[in-house]
């Protein structure tokens, strides 16, 4: 049967057809929908893990217990999971393991555009790169077979353009692979130095075997047309090359590490000029040169995405003329109407504090008029960076700064920074924006939500009790919609010479639709045109220039009531109340 699936839906289908039993992942754009779709197959145990390192370790345990397992993450998630990955390469697997990593060239929703192919080389493990939805599905099964045949984890690499594009997929049946049973093999699984040294020899031998396998397998496909030029490419880039240069000979790589040198040398002899077209870093090209294969140079930027037109430009083809328009009124992303973060950022802006930010919807607190984020580096960094600021200034700057972090990010890796600040006598102020959900990636539940990935009731971590349990004395809940109280409490906590944690208590407007109330409206007779309500940055509030007064779009307003807290003229009223 033929259906249309996005790359991410196809990866999930691939896991189902490959007989995968366990998937543990942490959400991250553009990978989140893989696990969100896999949960629809009742044969697969799916879970949201607290972070990517935990997720991969769960997959390793499942493999050890004898079943096929998978973990899915975005590119920066693999940095978090790199520790288990590097040694998993040595131990190898029992049941097959696939590590699915989705890169984000052009940074549509990421803090960097690192190229995950480096990890395959670094960990000395194979990496497959599908070129469309159908291959996305098929490659999971092939990856599982390679994983078990060569006793190695296999990385399958996606990117935004593959994960979030859709194409026609031919569905197959699920293979029943059963369980191999729990493996007891001390020299294989216990990586003390003596065993590690032996396993490292195995890893090097495996890499040579995988190189041979890649040359012999049909993952590597040769399409011969003219003999003038030949292009080596893989993944989504293959589609761009195919469309930009239809009559060019291509060697399409399905496995991008280790490289199929025999096939590449064979192909290079059939064409006069050999090129590599790849997105982001020059990994394949550099490797070919290092192995003495003559490759033509292309003037290609390592920044951003390729496209059909970019490939045409690389080969000096004519492009049709097109016009562009600049300075159109923009539609920038903004915190939703009713967002429980807005009140806190309004207060932080009013108090003119230095704000160490983190990864999540609240990064949007950067934008005017709230303008209250001064750093964003990686998951959990806000808490540790605030501690660094505190120590660098002998406590002085901790009186002028705070860290903000969401519930999911705090439980991901923020908690480690908090333990460190507590142990090392820190004096920083941490605001945990607890909206009970992982917002930015599409509202996935986390350990503080109260339900699991399949929306069944689950144990709920109480973040206030957790912080108190560490031993922190100053832990308080605050209502982010109570502007006066927040002003007072945050001022108090930054000034005290002690580590303090404030935890907000309102849900994400999408996590709990029951909090939506009847909308507010502005009484034109009472509105003085002071513009105070326009400074909270709510998308429901606009300014009527001709009438010199503010206006609430009642179709957008969720009735959160933040605006009435900043109006000094009682001009804002709620419908029906």
């Amino acid at each position: 049967m033929k259906v249309i699936l996005s790359g991410n839906e196809a990866f999930a289908r691939g896991a189902y057809e490959a007989g995968v039993k366990v998937i543990s992942s942490y959400p991250g754009t553009p990978s989140s929908e893989i696990t969100d779709n896999a949960k629809k197959y009742k044969e697969i145990y799916c879970e949201w893990a607290s972070n990517e390192k935990v997720a991969l370790e769960v997959a390793i345990g499942a493999s050890q217990a004898g079943v096929r397992s998978m973990t899915c993450m975005k590119h920066v998630g693999l940095n978090v999971a790199a520790d288990p990955l590097m040694t998993l390469s040595y131990t190898g697997v029992n049941g097959g393991i696939v590590v699915l990593v989705a890169d984000d060239p052009n940074m549509f929703s990421s803090q960097n555009e690192q190229d995950s192919r480096h990890y395959a080389r670094f960990a000395k493990v194979p990496m497959l790169e599908p070129a469309d939805s159908n291959e996305a599905k098929d490659f999971i099964k092939i990856a599982m077979e390679i994983s078990e045949k060569f006793c190695t984890p296999v990385i399958v690499r996606s990117c935004t353009r593959l994960s979030h594009s859709a194409g026609v997929v031919e569905l197959g049946e699920r293979v029943d692979v059963g369980s191999k049973g729990l493996e007891v093999d001390i020299p294989k699984w216990v990586m003390v130095p003596a065993n590690g040294r032996v396993r490292h020899q195995f890893v090097e031998k495996r890499l040579i075997e995988l190189t041979k396998f890649n040359s012999q397998s049909d993952l590597c496909k040769e399409e011969l047309y003219s003999n003038s030029i030949g292009i080596i490419c893989s993944g989504i880039v293959y589609q761009y090359v195919k469309e930009a240069l239809p009559d060019t000979s291509i060697l399409k790589l399905g496995m991008v590490w280790p490289l199929p040198f025999d096939r590449i040398i064979e192909f290079s002899k059939k064409v006069k000029k050999l090129y590599v077209v790849e997105e982001l870093d020059n990994i394949i090209e550099t490797e070919l040169r290092a192995n003495g294969i003559k490759v033509q140079k292309l003037k290609r930027s390592p920044l951003g995405e390729l496209s059909v037109d970019e490939v045409r430009k690389l080969f000096k083809k004519m492009l049709p003329e097109y016009s562009t328009l600049e300075n159109l009124p923009g539609r920038p992303p903004s915190m939703c109407a009713g967002c429980s973060h807005r009140g806190i950022f309004y207060v932080l802006n009013r108090l003119k504090l230095y704000v160490s930010g983190d990864i999540g919807c609240y990064t949007l607190g950067l934008l005017p008029p709230l303008s209250a984020i001064h750093s964003t580096v990686c998951m959990g960094a806000s808490v540790s960076m605030a501690h660094g600021i505190d120590k660098a200034s002998d406590g002085e700057l901790s009186k002028k700064s705070v860290a903000v972090i969401g519930d999911s990010t705090f439980l991901h890796t923020g908690i480690n920074g908090l333990l460190n600040a507590f142990y090392n006598n820190g004096k920083s102020t941490i605001i945990i924006l607890d909206n009970t959900i992982t917002g930015m990636t599409g509202h996935q539940p986390n350990p503080a939500t109260g339900f699991n990935i399949r929306l069944e009731p689950a144990p709920k971590v109480d973040i206030v009790e957790l912080c108190k349990g560490i031993g922190i004395k100053r832990v308080r809940r605050i209502d982010p919609f109570d502007v006066e109280e927040c002003l007072k409490v945050i001022k108090e906590e930054v000034e005290t010479e002690e580590l303090s944690v404030l935890v907000t208590n309102r849900p994400c407007i999408f996590a709990d639709r029951t909090v939506i109330d009847s909308p507010y409206y502005i009484d034109p007779d009472k509105c003085t045109g002071c513009k105070a309500c326009t400074r909270i940055g709510c998308p429901a509030i606009s300014w009527l220039k001709n009438e010199k007064r503010a206006f609430i779009d009642e179709s957008i307003c969720t009735g959160c009531g933040l605006c009435i807290k900043v109006c000094r003229f009682n001009a804002i009223n709620q419908r029906g109340k």
Binding site: Y322, R331, S542, K545
Partner: protein
């Protein structure tokens, strides 16, 4: 076999993803190869949204190249301007006259680029403008703007009405099938009038 490169643009929440899903489904029912690409990620409610839909005998890139769109469906009056690089003198523009004021000019809605929109109409092969929001409301389905526009678009594609209805029924929530098919047909009829 013909090829159709269709760009569906609009504002987050208007249903551009649903519309492009339905086009893909009907193309599959008509035995075409089809690919779709869209960008979502950062909280994009109220943000600009674009879907590329490519239909043909064999489709490679999931994205349309500049100046290569056959049809641009703009679910909001100005949004096609943001993607004008995909248009050429061969492109048909199907434009919903509904305006959604962008957040950046919320302090002065007068800055809405009406004259720029009309200036750019002459760069298209054909332009069709109509009030899809009104039609959707008249059908008792105010959230059906994207399906009304799809109905209009259906006049430009060689797909059977049965397959369109089947694709709509497949993709919209079960409870809303009848309302959406009604909106689709009303949109389709707007072209003849």
């Amino acid at each position: 076999m013909a090829k159709y490169d269709i760009l569906v643009v609009g504002v987050g929440g208007q249903g551009s993803v649903l519309a492009s899903d339905i086009i893909c489904e009907v193309a599959l029912l008509e035995n075409f190869d089809v690919k779709k690409s869209e960008i979502h990620g950062m909280a994009q409610r109220g943000g600009s949204v674009v879907s590329h839909v490519r239909i043909g005998e064999k489709v490679y890139s999931p994205t349309i190249s500049f100046a290569q769109a056959d049809i641009i469906v703009s679910l909001e009056r100005m949004e096609f301007l943001r993607y004008i690089e995909y248009a050429s003198k061969k492109t048909v523009l199907i434009n919903n006259s509904q305006k959604i004021i962008p957040a950046s000019i919320i302090n002065d809605a007068e800055l809405y680029p009406d004259s720029l929109i009309e200036d750019n109409y002459k760069n298209f092969k054909e332009v069709y403008e109509f009030d899809a929001f009104k039609t959707a409301k008249d059908c008792g389905n105010p959230r059906g703007v994207s399906v009304v526009c799809l109905g209009y678009l259906s006049n430009f594609l060689p797909f059977s009405i049965e397959n369109w209805k089947k694709a709509v029924a497949e993709k919209v929530p079960q409870k809303t099938v009848d309302a959406n098919i009604k909106s689709f047909l009303s949109g389709r009829d707007l072209y003849k009038k």
